[in-house]
């Protein structure tokens, strides 16, 4: 168990810059999820922490010790791979015992540790099997077991749930979180799945094009996204963005269609006429009377307790709304819930908070 500090880590492959200086401090026992679309550099960052890649510049410190020049073997970390990466020629027991044997632990202790981990993951009855005789979920557990028995300073997870079917993924997700809390091992978890990120992490790092777009707790990231990228990435269905300009001294915004929405949480700086992007989550749009924003529904997806409506505004802007119950198939009038509007700079996409 240890803290992890990533300081100014940059990485280039030839002329291609994949990481533009990442800084991140992870406290002892914390679980941080790195989330982003494919190609954002999240796996590269994880591999740098593991020692499988060398950073172009910057430092990785585990427990205050600079491990940047060290081999993976010397970092005392464990990693769970997307493909599980079990040793195909070894039994489950040997897979889990491999790292312990290398460290020269006494046989009795190896046996005990493997048994403990196997019970924790309920794979005790599989110890004599070879990986090819296991299902995907079982392999995943063995891979976890191999990490757990080592009692490492750090757990690294590289999209470990991507190869599982949807139901198993939800189940393993909960199990990983439970285990991590119980063992209190500092963990770094990489995923492209925002639901996984929200549910697993004490904190999230949303990565975008080699930069950490936002670091924060899942609720912070969800309720105060730092820019339009984070806003669109976190939450499902994705947030709607509407072009608008500030009016009434920054206390309201006029949408391109002419509708004016007032901010209930205070005026935005920049004054009259500043071009902005208004973000509103589909679930924060309510059905109202005739004076709302008119949406021509093109597709209604009934989810049982609620309905997702995809449609267009009068000026052609696409909009998605999630409304309770079974909603109309043709046209609805919508208005935002109070305090649910996000305001972003139209040019930079950065969040604009009230005040200043």
């Amino acid at each position: 168990m240890a803290s992890l500090d990533i300081k100014g880590v940059q990485k280039s492959f030839g002329a291609t810059r994949v990481l533009h200086g990442i800084d991140l401090a992870i406290a002892d026992g914390e679980m941080v999820v790195i989330v982003g679309a494919s190609g954002c550099g999240k796996s590269t960052l994880l591999r740098i922490v593991a020692g499988l890649e060398t950073p172009t510049s910057g430092q990785v410190m585990i427990d205050g010790l600079d491990v940047t020049p060290l081999e993976p073997a010397d970092r005392d970390i464990a990693m769970v791979f997307q493909t599980y990466a079990l040793y195909p020629h070894m039994t489950v027991f040997d897979n889990m015992a491999y790292g312990l044997k290398i460290r020269g632990l006494p046989k009795a202790e190896i046996r005990q540790r493997v048994q403990e981990a196997a019970e924790l993951l309920s794979i005790g009855q599989l110890l004599e099997r070879k990986p090819r005789q296991l299902s995907g979920g079982q392999r995943q557990r063995v891979a976890m077991g191999r990490a757990i028995v080592r009692h490492p300073k750090l757990f690294l997870f590289d999209e470990p749930l991507s190869n599982l079917d949807a139901k198993l993924r939800v189940q393993m997700r909960a199990e990983i979180r439970r285990l991590q809390k119980r063992l209190a091992v500092t963990s770094l978890f990489v995923t492209h799945d925002q639901v996984e990120a929200m549910t697993l992490g004490d904190r999230l790092v949303v990565m975008h094009e080699g930069r950490a777009a936002q670091v924060g707790t899942p609720m912070e990231v969800w309720s105060k996204p730092a820019d339009t990228y984070v806003a669109s990435f976190i939450g499902s269905p994705a947030m709607n963005f509407l072009p608008a300009t500030l009016v009434d001294g920054g206390a309201a915004a006029r949408l391109s269609g002419g509708t004016v929405w007032r901010f209930t949480d205070g005026a935005r700086p920049g004054g009259e006429g500043r071009p902005v992007t208004i973000g509103i989550r589909p679930e924060h749009l309510q059905q109202v009377g005739a004076d709302g924003l008119a949406l021509t529904v093109e597709l209604a997806e009934p989810l049982g307790s609620e309905t997702v409506l995809h449609g267009r505004l009068a000026d052609g802007t696409a909009l998605t709304a999630r409304v309770p119950g079974v909603a109309g198939q043709e046209g609805v009038a919508l208005a935002p819930e109070p305090g649910a509007l996000h305001v972003f700079d139209a040019e930079t996409g950065r969040r604009i908070d009230p005040g200043h």
Binding site: E71, R75, R132
Partner: protein, 293 residues
């Protein structure tokens, strides 16, 4: 998806099989049958009379010191060739599998020797090891080693082993390289994170995963050393000096073609045939079972 075609009637399927069957019958079963028949016969020195002697040719062989010598030579020769060709190929494949500059060129060059005809390979090694014109042969002489494979049996054996193994390294190299490349990188990374150093990774992860390939190659190499090295030996030493490099296959040639002792030569061929059938059977039996995943 494999497409299964179902023929109506039996005429067409048999007709389609005829070319393959004809080749097998004409070039394998017929000569093999002739060899078996001939191995039970004995001719007089002038080829005027032939008599049926049943297994006498075989019994004679097992009492013949020269034949036992050839058998022993074959054991030494084959195991040395297999060990050298496999070892060198594995080493080269591991090196070629690393991320190095010019890996493509390096791999191509390593595959070349396979395209060289056995006799040419032998001549090439002749120019290297010849005591008076060979590069290495002269160098040996210059540093005081009494090198002459034409009189020293041990040196002759060493040379044919090297020449024969060199021919086979390319073949082994291709298989080992393919085997190495089929090992997922993440498994090796997992081993590295588990604390295994490169040497240990090789012996505990890479080598076990290569063992089905290695076993297959071992059988192929033994078969090669037993049967396909005639050209190399013939061009380099002609089984000499004395009978120092006379292997079983070479003795078949000497007794059958040079000494015209057809009965004995045929009996030797039959023995070799039994050996190759046994090797192939072992291979088919174990190769399936030893695959790990």
């Amino acid at each position: 998806m494999r497409k299964k075609v179902i023929f109506r009637g039996v005429a067409l399927p048999y007709l389609l099989l005829v070319p393959q069957l004809a080749v097998t019958i004409v070039f394998f079963f017929w000569p093999a049958g002739m060899a078996v028949w001939q191995s039970t016969l004995r001719q007089d020195a002038f080829g005027l009379r032939t008599e049926f002697v049943a297994f006498e040719n075989f019994l004679d062989l097992f009492g013949d010191a020269l034949y036992l010598n050839a058998a022993w030579n074959t054991v030494i020769f084959s195991s040395s060739v297999a060990a050298l060709a496999l070892g060198a190929a594995l080493f080269l494949a591991v090196q070629a599998d690393k991320h190095i500059r010019g890996a493509g060129l390096y791999k191509t060059l390593l595959i070349w020797p396979y395209a060289v005809a056995p006799a040419l390979a032998a001549v090439l090694w002749l120019f290297i090891f010849h005591p008076s014109i060979g590069l290495v042969g002269r160098a040996f002489g210059a540093i005081g080693i009494d090198w002459d494979y034409r009189v020293n049996g041990g040196q002759a054996m060493t040379m044919v082993v090297i020449a024969a193994a060199w021919k086979q390294v390319s073949y082994n190299f291709i298989f080992f390289l393919a085997g190495l490349q089929s090992i997922p990188t993440s498994v090796l990374e997992a081993a590295a994170i588990d604390g295994a150093r490169p040497f240990r990774r090789f012996w505990t992860v890479i080598f076990p995963l290569l063992s089905p390939t290695a076993f297959f190659l071992l059988v192929v190499n033994l078969v090669y050393a037993f049967f396909d090295t005639f050209g190399v030996i013939h061009a380099l030493t002609r089984g000499g000096p004395g009978n120092a490099t006379e292997t079983l296959i070479y003795k078949v040639y000497v007794d059958g073609v040079q000494n015209l002792n057809f009965g004995s030569s045929a009996a030797q061929s039959v023995i070799l045939m039994v050996i190759v059938i046994a090797l192939t059977a072992i291979q088919f039996r174990f190769i399936e079972r030893r695959v790990h995943y």
